[in-house]
Amino acid sequence: MGKKTNIQLMVDGRRIDGRLPEQLREIEMKIGEIENADGSARVRFGNTEALVAVYGPRSLFPKFLQESDMAILRVVYSMAPFSVDERKNPAPDRRSIEISKVTKDALSGAVFLEEFPRTVIDVYEYIIQADGSTRVTAINAASLALASAGIPMKDLVAACSVGKIGDVLIVDLCGKEDNYSESDMAVAMMPSKGLITLLQMDGRLTKEEVLQLLKKAEENCKKIYEMQKKALLEKFKVVGED
């Protein structure tokens, strides 16, 4: 982020897509669309949409990869070639590999891995359309897919992005805000106990600003968490703030 631009990200208190600073985009959560998967979910935040399938717990080969006292959780994040402005080569790039890694860290702490020694749980994330905040959108879907696969979890993981334009804190960054805002942060947490499982921040912020953003993120993760729980209950739900 922080690329130079002539684009005005905030005009008259409204963001580039018309939202108020603390307004989430329209959110859709749908569970169980992939028949072959053990669990699956699709989550859309505005024009950012992630489809996630979970396979497992299942046997892991070759054997030397197994952990004798717990399951391994693997994550692969990938993007549709047509999900971005310039066609993306489908081979994994460095950004996707890093996101897969931090997402694995963000989810592993929420799953009772010790219940399934010697197995693997595979989480496959696929971005259908990308308009900012893809990694957090995918984490929201992954958490639902894990739950719908019947995998025991300490809590759902809810995630959102927060950032700063001038002096204004914003939530749920869209693509242009992702690219041009001064600072941004991706946060995932288990909301019921306020436990942060993913935290990435870029920019130039004072300590106080970091903490303000974190609090804003926590508030919104809690809202998203409520939607996740509803979606799991109903297995179909369109919710939003518009």
């Binding site: 072959n36 549709a80 310039e86 496959y124």
Partner: protein, 250 residues
Amino acid sequence: MKNFVEEALAQGKRIDGRDFLSFRKIEIVENVSKKAEGSALVKMGETKVIAGVKMDIGEPFKDSPNEGILIVNAEFSPISSPNIEPGPPDENAIELARIVDRVIRESHSIDLEKLFIEEGKVWTVYVDLTVLDMKGNLVDACVLSSLKALWNAKIPKIEDGKIVREEFSGKLPMVYKPVTVSICKYNNNFLIDPTDVEEELINAKLVVGVRDDDKICAIQKQGWGTFHISEIERCLDLAIEKSKELRRLI
């Protein structure tokens, strides 16, 4: 499961109640990815595939300097099946992409000459296919979603030689609506739109691409099984007949 399906087939039945020459329920969702120039999600029974069209300015091939370029790519997402690992496309995904490519290209469905921009510059049309739920008959579903995405696709605007994303100058110059009908031979019977379990049991399939004017634009035999010429003739008749049902959906 496999035994059950086999028993049914042997009795001329299918476990989902369809007769041999019926498609599963087909549902198409258009414009599923706002960033794509065109896109379509096709559900054929439980099978789900998504196609997206992206366009970019490119250099023409030396032997066709006035024509746009078509590039088709297909991936089996690990989302789609417990048997798919992440990684580059295997021989099956590559074959799939190449069949879709030939159906689009050989049918002359796109007027590639209208994709000329200026000396040395033409539009490149990328069609990217991803299989999301692998429940049989991928070729027919992928051709259908590709054509739907292409028929919806818009051409981005060009200003000062550069693409302006999110603005468009018109629709893609589409001419035909080719579709494929894949016909499986089981004993002496023929059936269409096989499920994944049926495909495991059947080792002879004929993919037939048919254009709006009933011309055959592509054939590909798949599997270890064999066909007599007389059986091919029967398949062509069937394909021409059933192709009309699919074409209506584009």
